[in-house]
């Protein structure tokens, strides 16, 4: 099984699906000749031509509504936002049209919106945001946040197959940094099934995206230094999310940290923590802890950004506190 970067896994998965299924096409800003700001669609236009890899005007609503219209006519559009942050310009289309169309009119909207998300490289307030919490509150949308190359490919194919609008959050900080084995053949990873990233017994970390790796480093350090056994559950998909896996893990470990990169107040961590507090109340041996970015825009300067995004040290500290509770 070849080793690929997270970015390569997405690129290859998308290319193979476009070869297999004529209905799949790509639209976005600079996705054609340039191959996309992150080069996910590099070479696609040569292979599939300018009408399946469409350089769109700088207009996110046109891109997203264009995708919805094409989907209603039987296509399987994969729209790229140049950065996830710019999806705010198409918010109305997604929440008003795409999310509600099936409920109201019974017509499925099989679109995928690729969202290069997240911070960690001084992108500043407008090139670093994590949009999953905002969309998770909108019934009718699905939200996916893979953390491994293999999941990125398998979840992307599930997203394309899915008859609903899917927001596919690709963490930019994983693009070239994370490598892993990726099966050559076509496969899908189902929505709503968390991935057990690391088994443990003492305390559970519920997380996703780039924070999986932050949690992993913290867990390794705690295993060595504190002989603490940390379980890490990678949600992989936020809507739907795997309540059973979360509750099962919490029932076993009895202590839990919910960790995400997005800001804290109103972040999806609240939903998870609240669910645990309601449904695993009797199994808890300590307060449900949350760790997330503080409530501010993402800062630009590296030292500010480091203070903003949860770091390994922060997670270690929180887990030690929990363990000691």
């Amino acid at each position: 099984m070849p080793e690929k970067t997270y970015l390569q896994a997405i690129s290859d998965g998308l290319r193979e699906e476009m070869r297999r299924d004529q209905r799949v096409f790509v639209l976005g800003e600079d996705v054609g000749v340039y191959g996309g700001a992150f080069k996910v669609t590099l070479g696609f236009q040569e292979e599939f031509g300018p009408w399946r890899v469409i350089d769109m005007p700088l207009a996110e609503t046109a891109i997203l509504a264009g995708a919805t219209g094409a989907a209603l006519m039987g296509m399987r559009p994969v729209a790229e936002m140049q950065f996830a942050d710019f999806v705010s310009c198409g918010w109305d289309h997604l929440v008003t049209v795409a999310a509600k169309q099936h409920f109201r009119a019974g017509t499925p909207i099989p679109i995928v919106v690729r969202l290069p998300s997240g911070g960690g490289f001084s992108g500043g307030p407008f090139h670093s945001q994590n949009p999953e919490s905002s969309f998770a509150h909108i019934p009718g949308l699905k939200v996916v946040c893979p953390s491994t190359p293999a999941d990125a490919k398998g979840l992307l194919l599930s997203a394309i197959e899915d008859p609903n609008p899917v927001l596919f959050c690709e963490h930019k900080h994983l693009y070239r940094r994370i490598k892993g084995d990726v099966p050559e053949e076509r496969y899908t990873v189902p929505f709503g099934e968390a991935r057990m990233h690391r088994h443990g017994e003492d305390v559970t970390v519920i997380t996703w995206g780039a924070m999986v790796y932050t949690a992993d480093e913290a867990a390794q350090r705690l295993a060595q230094e504190d002989d603490l056994s940390v379980e890490i559950l990678d949600l992989r998909t936020i809507i739907p999310w795997d309540r059973e896996a979360v509750l099962d893990s919490v029932r076993r470990c009895s202590k839990v940290l919910v960790l995400h990169e997005d800001t804290r107040t109103g972040g999806f961590g609240g939903e998870i923590a609240a669910t645990i507090a309601e449904e695993a109340f009797e199994h808890l041996d300590g307060p449900v802890r949350r760790m997330a970015a503080p409530d501010s825009p993402v800062p630009f300067a590296p030292n500010l950004e480091k203070a903003f995004i949860p770091q390994v040290d922060d997670v270690v500290r929180a887990l030690r506190e929990l363990a000691a509770y």
Binding site: A65, G74, G106, P139
Partner: protein
């Protein structure tokens, strides 16, 4: 590119040239009457307390809606708005389902989940509007994009009000359509008011059709009370788009003959304006034309009038028998299931 102001239609020959025979003409008349009849009965239902929420109609806009729908081909699609009931009627949505929709019953196209004219039967190529105007306009552009990608000779019609043309969605959709020369018609129903706001507070150009030039395509102004002129202009634009000629913006001018919705008495519209446009009533106008130019007989007219009345009465009854929607289906309706993609539309 200068805006073209369309001439009225004056002879039967002209209409024949545009592809309509006498049966078609009588059919148009029937659709006009049905459209108005549905909305008039809607008012009665509303007064009877049978319509929840508010109630919106398109009185004065019947010709604009029926005319363009008549010009659409069987595989063409569109995203009609709140004043365009005639589109649904013309393409064959059964009136009883419209009444069921008004009343929030299980047999309305949205099964009570949405209301008013937020309807559209995808099997008829029509896609339900949302309240947010004109959010479906760029969606129609996306439909045209699919036709262009697959090189199908199909056309999408995007409806918009003159008020809603101020929104960014209109711009983004029209600009994309112009850049990619997509087979889409922008149909602006200019009824001179956006709720209480007159046009001069919505835009500062003489004709909205002038906007077309800013996007590199043709603009046309048509009298929206002249169903045959509407048909002719729509037909010309649709066939042009079908043959790869790109978009056309058609501004169809009417007056909204009632308030914005049933609660609004339109005190802000000068009475003389209502009187002037009442004299240009699209249905009466077409009836007179049919008598003058197509020799519609008393018998024919009676047959159509009473046929429509019968249809609507039966429809009302059938709609009233439609059950209330089942609250148990609410959450299950939110997401589509994979098998729903196995339809002709998602082939």
């Amino acid at each position: 590119m200068a805006v073209r102001e369309a001439e009225p239609v004056s002879s039967l020959q002209e209409v024949h040239d545009a592809g309509l025979d006498r049966e078609d003409l009588l059919g148009i008349y029937r659709n006009l009457l049905t459209t108005r009849g549905i909305e008039e009965r809607g008012h009665i239902l509303y007064k009877q307390g049978k319509i929840p929420g508010s109630f919106y109609t398109g009185r004065g806009n019947e010709a604009s809606a029926v005319g363009v729908a008549t010009a659409m081909g069987p595989h063409d699609v569109g995203t009609p708005l709140q004043r365009a009931m005639g589109v649904h009627v013309t393409r064959g949505l059964e009136p009883w389902r419209i009444f069921a929709q008004y009343m929030g019953r299980a047999d309305g196209p949205t099964r009570g989940r949405d209301g008013n004219v937020h309807i559209g039967d995808a099997n008829l190529g029509l896609y339900a509007m949302v309240s947010h105007l004109p959010a479906m306009l760029p969606v129609a552009v996306g439909m045209a994009l699919a036709f262009r990608i697959r090189e199908e000779k199909r056309v999408a019609i995007a409806w918009c009000g003159e008020g809603a043309s101020a929104r960014g969605d209109a711009h983004e959709g029209m600009n994309l359509a112009g850049v990619r020369k997509l087979p889409v018609i922008f149909w602006i129903d200019n009824n001179q008011w956006a709720y209480s706001t007159p046009s001069h507070l919505e835009y500062a150009v003489e004709h909205l059709a002038d906007r077309a030039a800013a996007y590199g395509f043709e603009g046309v102004v048509v009298d929206g009370t002249d169903v045959l002129a509407v048909y002719r202009e729509a037909k010309r634009a649709i066939e042009k788009a079908r043959e790869g000629g790109g978009p056309t913006l058609i501004e169809s001018v009417t007056l909204r003959m009632e308030g914005h919705a049933v609660h609004d008495d339109a005190f802000y519209v000068p009475r003389e304006l209502f009187e002037e446009w009442a004299r240009r009533d699209p249905i009466e106008r077409f009836r007179a034309w049919l008598r003058d130019h197509a020799e519609m007989t008393d018998a024919e007219e009676d047959e159509i009038t009473s046929g429509v009345k019968r249809l609507l009465n039966e429809s009302l009854q059938r709609a009233e028998e439609s059950p209330l929607p089942d609250p148990g289906t609410l959450v299950a309706a939110v997401y589509a299931q994979p098998e729903e993609l196995d339809t002709p539309h998602h082939k």
